[in-house]
């Protein structure tokens, strides 16, 4: 499967220059590579929420579950539990995963369920035309906060580390090669993985220059060391100016997950009768 054959007839309606293109291209490349390496395409199931990011599933010609806002994770978990051999890739916005659906995100990490979250973290609500999100910096002036927010952002990677996620990475939409690498690693990881992509919204919060000046790729970092991971995660708090590290931040392997074996066939008729006769 060539990544060119992975498209659909859906018209792409993202703004020119949108950071989502980098995520789309990186994911298509990774899926194409995985299929060339033997993964049947039908064993990839994509899930998305609502927001600009969600449109990505219309643009990729494989199984998809286009969910509602903030509710991409529960169906993704069900898909994985139903069929443990499928690769479940969830696309979510920052409003979606870190706002409306944050309870699901925390529980999915806690369960260490084997799904991959790709967060299109543009730190602004795009499709609803420019309001602050859980990761917008302090003082962010959006259409619902014209005088600036009075609350600091959450650091989603720190939250995920505390919740039990076993793979955490960060990339940007200005770094497609790194995205491909960490998407592959995240999908290959056995357990709950999350990639926070600093994806730029060119219309409502153009951070290309800001990120370009501050990002660097991790070197000599041991992702198996939770203390090193935490230190790197805390280096930039999504608020104050600081160097922003990219790459694989945390990885914990061989942790038991939620999925278990399939149900064996049983004679239900008989079991119902047995229950009833024991209830006399």
């Amino acid at each position: 499967m060539d990544q060119k054959n992975l498209g659909t007839y859906a018209l792409n309606t993202w703004c020119p220059g949108c950071g989502n293109f980098a995520i789309l291209n990186a994911v298509k490349t990774v899926i194409a590579e995985l299929t060339q390496e033997g993964l049947p395409l039908e064993k990839a199931v994509l899930v998305s929420g609502i927001g600009c990011h969600g449109k990505i599933v219309d643009y990729i010609n494989t199984n998809s579950f286009y969910s509602i806002h903030g509710r991409d994770i529960p169906p993704a978990e069900a898909i994985k539990i139903s069929s443990p051999d499928v690769k479940v890739i969830v696309f979510a916005g920052d409003g979606d995963a870190y706002g409306e659906g944050i309870e699901h995100l925390i529980f999915a990490a806690k369960r260490n369920i084997d799904i991959t979250m790709i967060i299109h973290n543009n730190r602004v609500y795009g499709l609803t035309t420019g309001q602050y999100t859980p990761t917008s910096p302090f003082g962010f002036k959006g259409r619902s906060t014209p005088r600036g927010t009075k609350e600091a952002p959450i650091n989603p990677l720190e939250l995920m580390l505390a919740s039990g996620a076993t793979y955490l990475a960060r990339g940007t939409s200005h770094g497609i090669e790194l995205l491909k690498k960490i998407f592959r690693e995240a999908i290959a990881h056995k357990g709950f993985s999350l990639v926070d992509v600093l994806q730029v919204c060119v219309t409502y919060y153009n951070m290309y220059d800001y990120y370009d000046k501050r990002v660097y790729e991790l070197k000599d970092h041991n992702p198996a060391d939770i203390n090193q991971a935490l230190a790197k995660i805390r280096e930039w708090d999504y608020n104050k100016d600081a160097p922003i590290c990219l790459g694989e931040l945390f990885k914990k392997e061989n942790v038991a997950g939620q999925e278990d074996s399939a149900q064996g066939p049983v004679d239900r008729e008989n079991k119902i009768k047995e229950f009833l006769s024991s209830s006399i």
């Binding site: 659909t8 007839y9 859906a10 049947p40 039908e42 064993k43 199931v45 609502i50 449109k55 599933v57 219309d58 010609n61 494989t62 199984n63 998809s64 579950f65 286009y66 969910s67 509602i68 509710r71 994770i73 529960p74 169906p75 993704a76 978990e77 069900a78 898909i79 539990i81 139903s82 069929s83 051999d85 499928v86 309870e103 699901h104 925390i106 529980f107 149900q263 064996g264 066939p265 049983v266 239900r268 079991k271 119902i272 009768k273 047995e274 229950f275 009833l276 006769s277 024991s278 209830s279 006399i280």
Partner: protein, 556 residues
């Protein structure tokens, strides 16, 4: 006809619930039919909990307000229920704990002393009083022991000893003769729902605990391996319904269970199910609201909520079973209908049905079996939302080679790709709604409305859900007709019109303050003449309802 009632009461934590089921099973063993109403407050320890165990030679599904025996495990029980006794002295109690005002009376059993001597824990007070009851009603020690052996999971020998001491210290007040006939299983409404779902092909049950539906979660979790299902309790009702839709996407038959408050959280997922055409069975156990309301009591206040929940217009199926047999049958049918039409399908239960204990005669239930949904024939390219004559598109489930399966909460085209085109939006809206027309047609083959009592009576009672039992019995005693619609949506209006032929006065009986079923039938042009409404969370008693009915029938 033998017909008597027992109340056992005490503090929460005394094991009243378990004891009432054991008492029910004892009389069931003697060949009687039983019904148990459970009344308990929303707390874990303390308060006043009681159960009414009604025993009859006939099938029953309602309680009467007068009782024959009172088992008072604490003072409250005697004080609160003694006035219900037909004979003011037919009560059993521990003189150490319960002071009897006035003249000495009743059967005193030194339960506390027995427990102390046997070194038994406090929880065994209920076993001791069951022993005393057996003696008082003439149940022999052997029958008592047989039932206890089956019902008691832990410390059996000690329990048997304590029961036998209670038996020994009691005295015979009357003798209940065994009946020679087939004994029937004793189940809760929730168990009947669970069994029906399993019968209908359930693969996954997903729920967040909420009274009165939590016992389905507990029952199915306990029996998961036996029934070949999986049971999941996720973080919230929002996750519950969304998980269910994920399972449906993968071809797994799934049900969820909740009550009004939990269902509030499910409505966005419900609407998604309507748009994405993902089948799901929703068990909605009603209890009084608004808000937290009376959490452990009953109501019929969510009919219009369930009929109208979720934004947008989409078909749904709603059935409100009235007893254990109907709960079993319609839970299986709801699963078949959900999958046949790819729609959300409701079992609208209420606390009185859910947690009531009934006899269950599976042989009296119409045959029903799991049906297979319409599947993709694998010849033409796959389109998840293929526009067909019936509106039902063939299903395929991931992973399916060569068939990208795309479901979508947005309006979408036949392949499941988002669209905002007006012509496609119109086409797909009509496609979804067309399914309801075909469902209505199929339902003509089901018993969507039940009729009981004097079918020639010009006065009829209109009821739904758990009020079936009390209405059928009250109608028998007052010579009225009962019309019980089980399917509430799509409403079987033509059949309802047929059943109303010859009826001059229609009296509705509902557990709500606004007459929700009356309002529904009004929308189809049917007028209810009188309404008997109860909204204190407690069920109608047979005699209480008869009194109400007589008020109205005397007028006409």
């Amino acid at each position: 006809m033998v017909d008597f009632s027992i109340i056992i009461g005490g503090k929460a934590g005394f094991g009243i619930d378990r004891a009432s089921v054991i008492i029910g099973r004892l009389f069931n063993q003697l060949g009687y039919r039983i019904y148990i109403y459970r009344d308990y407050p929303s707390l874990i320890r303390g308060g006043h909990t009681f159960s009414v165990i009604r025993v009859s030679s006939d099938r029953i599904a309602a309680h009467r307000s007068k009782i024959d025996f009172l088992l008072a495990l604490n003072q409250d029980t005697l004080d609160l229920h003694r006035d219900k006794l037909k004979d003011g002295c037919f009560f059993l109690y521990d003189p150490e704990l319960v002071k009897v005002p006035g003249q000495a009376c009743g059967v005193g059993v030194a339960i506390g002393k027995i427990l102390k001597e046997e070194n038994a824990p406090e929880i065994m007070r209920n076993t001791c009083i069951i022993g005393a009851l057996c003696k008082a009603v003439g149940i022999d020690a052997k029958t008592m022991e047989d039932v206890l052996r089956k019902e008691i999971p832990r410390e059996l020998e000690l329990n048997l000893k304590v029961a036998s001491r209670g038996f020994g210290e009691s005295r015979e007040l009357t003798r209940v003769e065994p009946l020679v006939r087939e004994r029937l299983p004793v189940v809760s409404g929730n168990e009947a729902i669970g069994l029906g779902l399993v019968k209908g092909g359930l693969n996954f049950y997903v729920a967040y605990p909420m009274t009165p539906s939590s016992p389905i979660l507990h029952f199915l979790a306990e029996k998961a391996t036996e029934f070949g299902i999986k049971v999941i309790h996720p973080e919230s009702e929002i996750a519950v319904i969304l998980m269910a839709l994920g399972f449906a996407y993968m071809g797994k038959k799934t049900a969820v269970g909740t009550s009004g408050g939990g269902f509030c959280l499910m409505t966005e997922g419900l609407s998604f199910a309507g748009m994405a055409e993902l089948p799901v069975v929703i068990v909605m156990g009603q209890r009084p609201g608004p808000s937290t309301g009376l959490p452990t009591y009953s109501s019929q206040t969510e009919l219009h909520f369930v009929l109208n929940a979720g934004q947008g217009e989409f078909p749904r199926f709603v059935a409100a079973p009235g007893d254990a047999e109907e709960a079993y049958y319609w839970s299986a049918a709801a699963m078949n209908i959900a999958w046949k039409y790819q729609i959300p399908s409701f079992i609208l239960s209420d606390k009185n049905l859910a947690e009531g204990i009934f006899n269950f005669d599976i042989n009296s239930v119409e045959p029903i079996k799991e049906e297979n949904p319409l599947l993709w024939d694998k010849t033409s390219p796959y389109k998840r939302y293929l526009n067909t004559e019936s509106g039902v598109s063939p299903l395929a489930f991931p992973p399916e080679q060569g068939a990208p399966i795309k479901v979508n909460s947005y309006e979408h085209d036949e392949s499941g790709i988002t669209t905002e085109e007006p012509a496609m939006a119109k086409t797909m809206t009509e496609k979804r709604l067309r399914k309801e027309k075909y469902l209505s047609g199929e339902l003509e083959g089901y018993k969507t409305i039940n009729v009981y009592g004097n079918k020639d009576s010009s006065t009829a009672i209109l009821c739904w859900g758990s009020n079936k039992g009390v209405c059928v019995e009250a109608a028998k005693n007052t010579d009225l007709k009962v019309i019980q619609p089980v399917v509430l949506w799509p409403f079987p209006a033509d059949r309802f019109r047929d059943e109303l032929k010859g009826v001059k006065t229609l009296i509705s009986v509902e557990d709500n303050a606004t007459g929700q079923l009356a309002r529904l039938v009004k929308a189809f042009g049917f007028d209810v003449d009188e309404q008997i409404l109860k909204y204190d969370g407690r069920p109608f008693s047979v005699d209480g309802l008869e009194e109400e009915l007589k008020k109205w029938t005397r007028k006409t």
